[in-house]
C-alpha cells in the first residue's frame, strides 16, 4: 500500500516537472508574440478559454477569449498577426506554482498561477492579467504533452484597456 502511494506521488512529481518545462516554453513563445507556435501547444480538439473570475464563479460562461478547437486558435493567431491594430508592447508572462493534481485515462489534471506584465512605449510596466490555469494535459502520438484544455481564470477582472495576446 505504502509503495503504491509512493509511486503515485512519484508519478505526479515527474508530471509536474514535465509540465513546468512545458509552461516555460509556452510562456517564452507568448513573450515573443509567436502566436502561430502558441496554437501548437494544444491538441486539435482542445478548449482554450480566458474567463473573468467573477463570471467563472457565478457559472456564467462568457469568455474574454473562447476557442473550441485549435482551428479557432489559429484564426486568432492569424488575426493578431495580420489584421489587428494595437500599440507596440513587450510581454512578460510568468507561470509559477505549477501543480500536477491527478493522472488518469483522461490525462493529467494540473494547475498553475500566471501573471502577464505588459510594457508599452513610454509607459511604466503594468500588470495586465493575474490568474490561474486549470489544465488538462494529454499526450500526442509521439508521447509529447499537449493541452487538451486550458481555462485561464483571471482575478484582474477590471481590464486595463484591452488584452491583445492570449495568456
Amino acid at each position: 500500500m505504502a509503495t503504491v502511494i509512493q509511486n503515485k506521488a512519484g508519478t505526479l512529481r515527474d508530471a509536474r516537472l514535465e509540465i513546468e518545462e512545458f509552461n516555460y516554453a509556452y510562456a517564452e513563445t507568448l513573450d515573443q508574440m509567436d502566436v502561430d507556435s502558441w496554437a501548437e501547444f494544444f491538441s486539435d480538439d482542445a478548449f482554450y478559454q480566458v474567463i473573468a473570475r467573477d463570471n467563472f464563479e457565478s457559472g456564467l460562461p462568457l469568455g474574454l477569449i473562447y476557442c473550441e478547437g485549435k482551428a479557432m486558435m489559429k484564426d486568432r493567431a492569424y488575426a493578431l498577426l495580420n489584421t489587428e491594430m494595437f500599440a507596440p508592447r513587450y510581454l512578460h508572462l510568468t507561470i509559477t506554482n505549477t501543480r500536477a493534481l491527478s493522472s488518469d485515462t483522461d490525462g493529467i489534471r494540473a494547475s498553475a498561477n500566471y501573471t502577464l506584465i505588459e510594457t508599452l512605449v513610454e509607459e511604466p510596466s503594468r500588470v495586465q492579467q493575474v490568474g490561474k490555469y486549470r489544465d488538462l494535459f494529454v499526450r500526442d502520438a509521439e508521447g509529447a504533452l499537449k493541452l487538451k484544455e486550458r481555462v485561464c481564470i483571471y482575478d484582474s477582472v477590471m481590464i486595463d484597456n484591452c488584452l491583445v495576446f492570449p495568456v
Binding site: 456564467l60 474574454l64 489587428e84 500599440a87 477590471m158 484591452c162 488584452l163
Partner: protein
C-alpha cells in the same frame, strides 16, 4: 495641468466658445474638469434616461447588482413584489459605499460601518442604539427614519432594459428614443426573455463621449477593422442605414450582411490600405448567422444618449454601459446575453462569436487602442480642434462615408450644455 482653452467671454458662465463651424469639435470637451462637472449636472442628472442594466441581471425577488448613473455608484434591486428600484450606493449616515459585491441576493442592505439598515426599496429600516444606552445618547427624538432613506432614481424599463433618471417628469422611454431609434431598439429587445452570459469590464483612458462617437462613425469601420473585411463580415458596399432621432442625440448604425462572400469593388480596395483579399477562417462557425430578430438588418449598433450602446451583430447581443471617471477616463461594463430559449449549441455559438467583441475581441482591441491614442493626442498635444467634416447633414441616411451622426450628437450636446 489644465490649460485654459478657447478663451473668450461667454454668457454661459464658462470661458468657452465653440467654434462657429459645426464641423469643428474643440479639445476642451474631452479634457477639462469644469466641462465634466457641467456634464454631471446637465446630462447625467439632467433630462435623460440613464441605462443601468438588464432585467435578466436581477432576475428574481431579492436580486441586486452594482451599477452606475453617470459616474455615481447605484444599486439596482428587485424587491419581493418583483418591482425594480435604483438607489445610490452611499449610506445616508456617513456616506459609505456599502454594496461591495458585483451582484447577489439579499433581503436588506446593512452598512458595515454603523449597521444602518435599508430594505430593497432603499428605505431606512433600522439604526442601532436609536434610543441610546441607559437613556443617554442615541438619535434625536424627532429623528424620522422615513426622511433618511437612500436617494432614489425614477425607474423605467422597455424590452428588459432598465433605465433610471434623477428627473421627476421625464417622457416615456419610447418618446425619449423617438420613433426611428425606438423601432430599432424594439427589434433587438423584442420582448423575448434574455439570459445573462456574462460581463466584461474594462477601463479606457479616454473621454466617455469618444466611445459614443466611435459607434456613430461608420467611416472607421472598414478602415480600422481589417478583420471585418478580411473575413467578409462587413464592407462599405453593404446595404446600410444610419438613422438618428430628431435631436441627433441617439443614433443607429444598421447594416445587412450579404449572403456569401462580400463583393468588394476596385474603388473600395484602392481606398483601404489594409485590404487583404478576403479569406476563409479555419473555423468558419464563428461567422455563422442564424437570423433571430424581426429586422432586415444583421448588424445593429444603437447609441442611446448618454451612456448606453446596444449591439446586435450577427448573433452577438450585448449592451455597454459607459461609466465616466473624470474627463480622461471611463469604465465600460459589457453585458453579454442570449435568449432564454437558446439550446446548448446556440449558447456555444454565441460564446464563439463573442470573440469578435469585448476587451480582447478583434474589434474591441482596435477601438480601445484607437481611443487611447486619440485621448493621448487631445490631452498632450497643442490645443486645436478636431474635424468632423465628412458627409452632409441633409444627406440620404444610407450614406456610409460620413460623420453626420457625430455632428448630430454635438448639436444636441451644445444645446444641453449651453456651449
Amino acid at each position: 495641468m489644465d490649460v485654459n482653452r478657447g478663451l473668450s467671454g461667454n454668457s454661459n458662465g464658462f470661458d468657452r466658445a465653440w467654434p462657429d463651424d459645426a464641423t469643428r469639435i474643440p479639445d476642451w470637451i474631452y479634457t477639462d474638469q469644469d466641462v465634466y462637472k457641467r456634464e454631471i449636472e446637465k446630462i447625467f442628472l439632467g433630462r435623460h434616461w440613464n441605462y443601468v442594466g438588464l432585467e435578466c441581471e436581477v432576475p428574481e425577488p431579492g436580486s441586486y447588482m452594482r451599477s452606475y448613473v453617470g459616474p455615481f455608484p447605484v444599486v439596482v434591486t428587485r424587491d419581493m413584489d418583483g418591482a425594480l428600484h435604483v438607489f445610490e450606493n452611499r449610506c445616508a449616515h456617513r456616506g459609505v459605499e456599502f454594496c461591495r459585491e458585483y451582484r447577489g441576493k439579499a433581503d436588506s442592505f446593512i452598512c458595515p460601518y454603523h449597521n444602518w439598515t435599508y430594505d430593497l426599496k432603499g428605505d431606512l429600516t433600522a439604526i442601532p442604539f436609536r434610543r441610546g444606552v441607559k437613556g443617554k445618547g442615541g438619535a434625536p427624538k424627532d429623528f424620522e427614519m422615513s426622511e433618511y432613506g437612500l436617494r432614489r432614481f425614477r425607474v423605467s424599463t422597455r424590452g428588459g432594459v432598465i433605465f433610471a433618471t434623477a428627473c421627476e417628469d421625464l417622457e416615456s422611454i419610447e418618446d425619449y428614443l423617438g420613433p426611428e431609434i425606438c423601432a430599432e431598439f424594439d427589434a433587438t429587445f423584442d420582448g423575448t426573455e434574455f439570459t445573462l452570459l456574462g460581463v466584461h469590464r474594462n477601463i479606457l483612458p479616454s473621454n466617455w463621449k469618444l466611445y459614443q462617437e466611435n459607434l456613430k462613425d461608420p467611416y472607421h469601420a472598414t478602415l480600422l477593422h481589417t478583420y471585418l473585411t478580411t473575413f467578409g463580415l462587413f464592407v462599405s458596399s453593404n446595404e446600410s442605414n444610419i438613422p438618428t432621432d430628431k435631436y441627433g442625440r441617439h443614433g443607429g448604425l444598421l447594416s445587412r450582411r450579404p449572403e456569401g462572400r462580400p463583393d468588394v469593388s476596385e474603388e473600395e480596395k484602392s481606398n483601404m490600405q489594409a485590404f487583404k483579399q478576403t479569406m476563409e477562417l479555419n473555423d468558419p462557425r464563428v461567422l455563422k448567422f442564424f437570423p433571430e430578430a424581426d429586422s432586415k438588418w444583421s448588424g445593429s449598433v444603437l447609441t442611446i444618449f448618454p451612456t448606453l450602446t446596444a449591439l446586435r451583430q450577427t448573433n452577438i447581443l450585448n449592451t455597454r454601459l459607459l461609466v465616466p471617471r473624470g474627463p480622461n477616463e471611463f469604465m465600460m461594463l459589457w453585458t453579454v446575453f442570449g435568449r432564454s430559449d437558446d439550446d446548448e449549441e446556440m449558447t456555444r455559438h454565441r460564446l464563439r462569436q463573442n470573440n469578435i467583441f469585448g476587451p480582447a475581441g478583434f474589434l474591441g482591441i482596435e477601438d480601445n487602442e484607437a481611443l487611447k491614442f486619440l485621448q493621448d493626442g487631445i490631452r498632450k498635444a497643442m490645443p486645436r480642434e478636431g474635424l468632423a467634416v465628412l458627409g452632409e447633414d441633409d444627406e440620404a441616411t444610407d450614406t456610409l462615408i460620413t460623420e453626420r451622426a457625430i455632428r448630430g450628437m454635438y448639436r444636441y450636446y451644445r444645446d444641453v450644455m449651453g456651449f
